[in-house]
């Protein structure tokens, strides 16, 4: 599905280069559920950004479905993100002037899905995340958990094979976070590969495989028994 080979990411800062990621390799198979844990600043989000093709490694390569996304031009990389990868952010990043329905429909429209099919899939997705009755509400009218569920529905719009989530429960209380975790469980059970970056042990424990990171490197890996 996605394979990072020996990737490093160096940020050039005024005080000198910062090595956010050092020669990391990671492969995620189809329908696999992987969590990435580690202290703040250990490179978890950077790894996620590189896996998702929203950043390119300084060295090494990230292959999505056998294609080196780092070598693709910006437009082609955008197309890979649009159609093959779903992204869920800690701060949801829903468009505030759009309703829940419109936020979910947006990636479908951008990938050229026809109007009737868009309506059907948007309806299905909002039902999937349990927000059909909140379809006409704008983000400001939704709770944090609801916003994150809309963001997950949006991430699933183009039926990606891989969903990447960066601290998806970071802004939510425990009970709401549990709803999101349950939603991820269902998503994975339905065949979607998931990589979730989290500080939350409860979230991490749901994954089949947990990657531990420190100082830009993978320092451990455990499998759920």
């Amino acid at each position: 599905m996605v394979a990072a080979r020996d990737i490093s990411r160096v940020f050039e800062m005024p005080a000198g280069p910062v090595h956010a990621l050092r020669r990391v390799s990671l492969a995620v198979d189809a329908a696999e559920y992987v969590s990435v844990v580690g202290p703040s600043g250990c490179g978890k989000s950077t790894l996620l950004h590189l896996l998702g093709g929203i950043d390119v490694p300084t060295t090494g390569s990230v292959m999505v479905d056998g294609v080196d996304v780092g070598s693709l031009p910006d437009n082609a990389r955008s197309a890979v993100r649009l159609k093959r990868i779903g992204l869920v952010f800690q701060r949801f990043f829903l468009l505030p002037m759009l309703t829940a329905w419109e936020n979910v429909e947006l990636p479908l429209a951008e990938s050229g899905v026809g109007r009737a099919e868009r309506r059907r899939r948007t309806k299905d997705l909002l039902e999937y995340v349990g927000l059909a009755e909140r379809a006409d509400h704008r983000p400001a009218q939704l709770s944090g958990g609801e916003m994150q569920r809309v963001a997950i529905a949006r991430a699933l719009a183009n039926r990606p094979a891989l969903v990447l989530a960066d601290e998806p429960t970071g802004e939510l209380d425990q009970a709401t976070g549990a709803q999101i975790v349950a939603l991820f469980d269902r998503l994975n059970a339905d065949g979607t590969a998931l990589v979730v970056v989290t500080h939350d042990a409860a979230v991490a424990s749901r994954a089949g495989r947990t990657i531990q990171m420190r100082d830009g490197s993978i320092v451990g890996e455990s499998h759920r028994s």
Partner: protein
């Protein structure tokens, strides 16, 4: 891609009401001023041309390039008029002699401009009441404008005595005249006192009954024989020592010389107005983009291309400027009517002159400037989203 960008931009414009109202109101106000500047920039010229054409004559002959009254007269005008009348491309010729006079018994502050013409030729005014007889007198038949009628309480049939203030004679004999009609003269200012009589009567008024001179010859061309250009060519060939100008040449000269300062002023004001419009939209869009960097980065992360998010900003700019610019047209139009009224009431301005004239050209330039404005105003915010580092912005937004 553009259709989706327009759809999303339209949603943003509709739903972010505060920003939209502010932007559209600003653009409407600025656009109305811009539209008025464009109407003003060409309006006087268009109005001038219309007034020349309305006179019924399309070629003018003068003795020198200087203004009619300031320049020397055309001598031996009777023979020259006869020569011109023989040209096939010329349909009618009128000689005009200009003088000024006081009305006897009325305070001298009321000077009257008097035009002397051939009564049996085409005359350069429109009759409102009465007639202008081709023969008659004494007393001399005189046509007056409405101002004269009102100021001196004259009507058709009234008698008056004019004391000439023109020509070489210091104290010419007063002219006994009788009002035969009331007319609208082409170049009358709102407060002008104008009269017209026969060429001979005005010559007598100026104490030059034995002279044969005129200030100007007016020619109406024969449209079937080549129009104004052919008539002007015939006049130039027949009278090589005189200056012959078609209406088009007069307008061109006016545009090049007298009107150039006016146009420069209008251009500067147009540029300043447009600049402020650009600034307003650029600031609005830049602030808007800066407030939504996280959402922009998320859109890019979700798979929207760089071109797509740039198109979104451009479409927002186009919508704000398009809505405001369209609303500016009727508002600018109404404003121009009001401003035109103010300017036309200035002393010495011909009553039928217009400063703000609506033309398709002005509308097209307005639209073109707005399109250019929408693109220019969007350039900086488009650049902001184009160079937005996605991962870094997402990280920064979360940290902040």
């Amino acid at each position: 891609m553009i259709r989706r960008a327009i759809a999303l931009a339209w949603l943003r414009v509709r739903r972010e009401k505060g920003r939209t109202i502010l932007g559209v109101a600003g653009i409407t106000a600025i656009g109305a001023l811009l539209f008025d500047m464009l109407l003003l920039g060409n309006g006087l010229l268009v109005s001038f041309r219309e007034r020349l054409d309305r006179s019924g004559f399309d070629v003018r002959v003068i003795a020198s390039e200087s203004a009619v009254i300031a320049g020397p007269p055309i001598e031996r005008v009777t023979a020259k008029t006869a020569i011109l009348r023989r040209a096939p491309s010329i349909a009618a010729v009128q000689r005009v002699r200009l003088g000024s006079a006081d009305v006897e018994g009325v305070q001298a502050a009321h000077h009257v401009t008097v035009a002397g013409v051939d009564p049996d030729a085409l005359v350069p005014w429109s009759m409102i009441d009465g007639t202008f007889p081709s023969v008659g007198g004494p007393p001399a038949a005189i046509v007056i404008n409405r101002n004269m009628s009102r100021v001196f309480h004259l009507m058709v049939g009234s008698r008056l005595v004019l004391e000439g203030r023109c020509g070489a004679a210091l104290h010419p004999l007063p002219l006994q005249a009788q009002v035969s009609g009331i007319a609208a003269f082409q170049n009358d200012a709102t407060d002008a006192l104008t009269a017209a009589s026969s060429y001979a009567a005005v010559a007598a008024l100026c104490g030059e009954s034995d002279s044969d001179r005129a200030d100007m010859l007016l020619i109406r061309s024969n449209a079937a024989a080549g129009g104004a250009d052919a008539a002007a060519a015939a006049a130039r060939a027949a009278l090589p020592d005189l200056h012959v100008l078609t209406n088009e040449q007069i307008v061109e000269r006016f545009s090049r010389i007298e009107f150039s300062y006016f146009r420069q002023l209008s251009s500067v004001l147009t540029a300043v107005t447009l600049f402020f419009g650009l600034l307003l939209v650029a600031v609005l869009l830049t602030v808007s983009v800066n407030q939504q960097l996280g959402e922009m980065a998320a859109l890019r992360a979700l798979g929207l291309s760089r071109g797509r998010v740039m198109a979104g900003v451009l479409c927002e700019s186009a919508l704000l400027i398009g809505i405001g610019g369209t609303a500016a047209i009727p508002i600018g139009g109404m404003l121009s009517i009001w401003l035109d009224h103010i300017l036309r009431s200035l002393p010495g301005i011909p009553a039928d002159a217009r400063f703000f004239v609506f033309t398709a050209r002005a509308l097209a330039i307005h639209a073109a400037l707005l399109v250019a404005g929408a693109v220019l105003a969007a350039l900086y915010p488009m650049r902001l989203v184009a160079v937005l580092p996605i991962a870094e912005t997402l990280r920064r937004e979360v940290v902040s």
